[in-house]
Point group: C2
Chain length 230, copies 2
């Protein structure tokens, strides 16, 4: 009886997939909102680390910074929206970082802990904090080791994850998740895929949550529904 | 005494400038939301008809349709968001219309009725309805005449506005408003400029209203705060 109830609960939960790259500050904003709502809304939140660099390769150069006005707008917009979302950002003066090894490292964590994503959340947040609050490097192995330790991993665990990050299955996994996002019409990150009554609905950016709530039949109470400290 | 009170009320109203082109369905969505909120919020809403084609000329090709994934995403997004915003859209299969004469016509109306913008609202809405609900032409003078008559103008008034639309002062005005938006870091439309406590804050698109409300110290109650029929 209990098993049936659990199965029923589980099947009624709407699946929400969150495609992100830690290179993207808008991904961080969306990530924090989803972390706050994942237990408020009746959703099964699935993290999908992807590689934004791969998008540019497949779709051509669509980097937002390519138009001066857009770049200036995005900096001002990030400031306003990060304040409103309660995620303090301190954008570096120049940001043009390569996140391939970084996202393979994140993918290795996601693959090792498929059912338990607390660690994935901690490491992802740590990487965002390093890049977008403290302007620290995330491209080199020692940086990833620091981030892993800070997120609570042991030195051995970080070492193992770094080795895995360079393995073919992890490289292939990151590639296939990136491809999956592209096949769902993503053209940037974050990209949120909601499965609602057998239909797939997709949302780009961190500014569609009110609409997402409406579509999945949940309530939107602003980006900070619960008190948080960051 | 009464005059002083009115002056005080007027000076405390926040100025919100709305740059738009009727070529853009997202401009229509934002326009309807602002029409609903202009008397709910304590704002002085200023319509700024601009020419999106001029953006591409100044900034290079940044048309959203240039990437297939983005184009497919935008069509799906428009469907969801227009439902949620209560603005029924029926995007044409191909949309690549020139709106130079159309926006000069809108500018002529804005210039003739600087204090009274009800007519500007009616004609703009009519042009959006023609293009984005009924897939009708708006590029030719007879189409603009039809739109003007439908919005309640007399045949003589429409004729005069069409003549004005082709005059140098109106051409210059549309150019200068477009330039003004570009100088405020616009890279697309709609573009909303809020003057808050002596500061200028800018917002691109139709999905920043919750944040705008927060910044101007007003309350956001979703895109349909009052019952409307369209």
């Amino acid at each position: 009886m209990l098993i049936m109830v659990i199965l029923q609960m589980s099947s009624s939960r709407k699946v929400v997939e969150f495609f992100y790259d830690v290179v993207s500050p808008y991904s961080w904003l969306a990530f924090e909102v989803l972390c706050r709502y994942k237990n408020v809304w009746n959703i099964d939140l699935k993290y999908k680390p992807a590689f934004l660099g791969g998008f540019f390769f497949f779709l051509g150069n669509i980097e937002p910074g390519s138009v001066d006005n857009k770049q200036r707008y995005l900096l001002a917009d990030l400031k306003l929206i990060s304040e409103y979302y309660g995620v303090p950002l301190n954008p570096p003066p120049v940001f043009n970082k390569e996140t391939l090894l970084e996202m393979r490292f994140v993918t290795a964590i996601a693959e090792k802990n498929q059912e338990e994503n607390v660690l994935l959340e901690k490491v992802s947040r740590e990487l965002w904090k390093r890049a977008w609050q403290n302007n620290l490097d995330n491209t080199q192995p020692p940086s990833l080791i620091e981030a892993g330790l800070q997120a609570g991993l042991s030195a051995n665990e970080v070492e193992e994850l770094l080795t895995n990050a360079k393995s073919q299955p992890i490289k292939d996994k990151l590639k296939s998740v990136t491809q999956e996002a592209l096949e769902k019409n993503a053209f940037g990150l974050p990209f949120i895929v909601c499965h609602v009554n057998g239909k797939v609905e997709v949302f780009f950016g961190c500014d569609r949550f009110e609409l997402i709530a409406h579509r999945i039949g949940e309530k939107w109470a602003g980006p900070c529904p619960i008190k948080t400290t960051m």
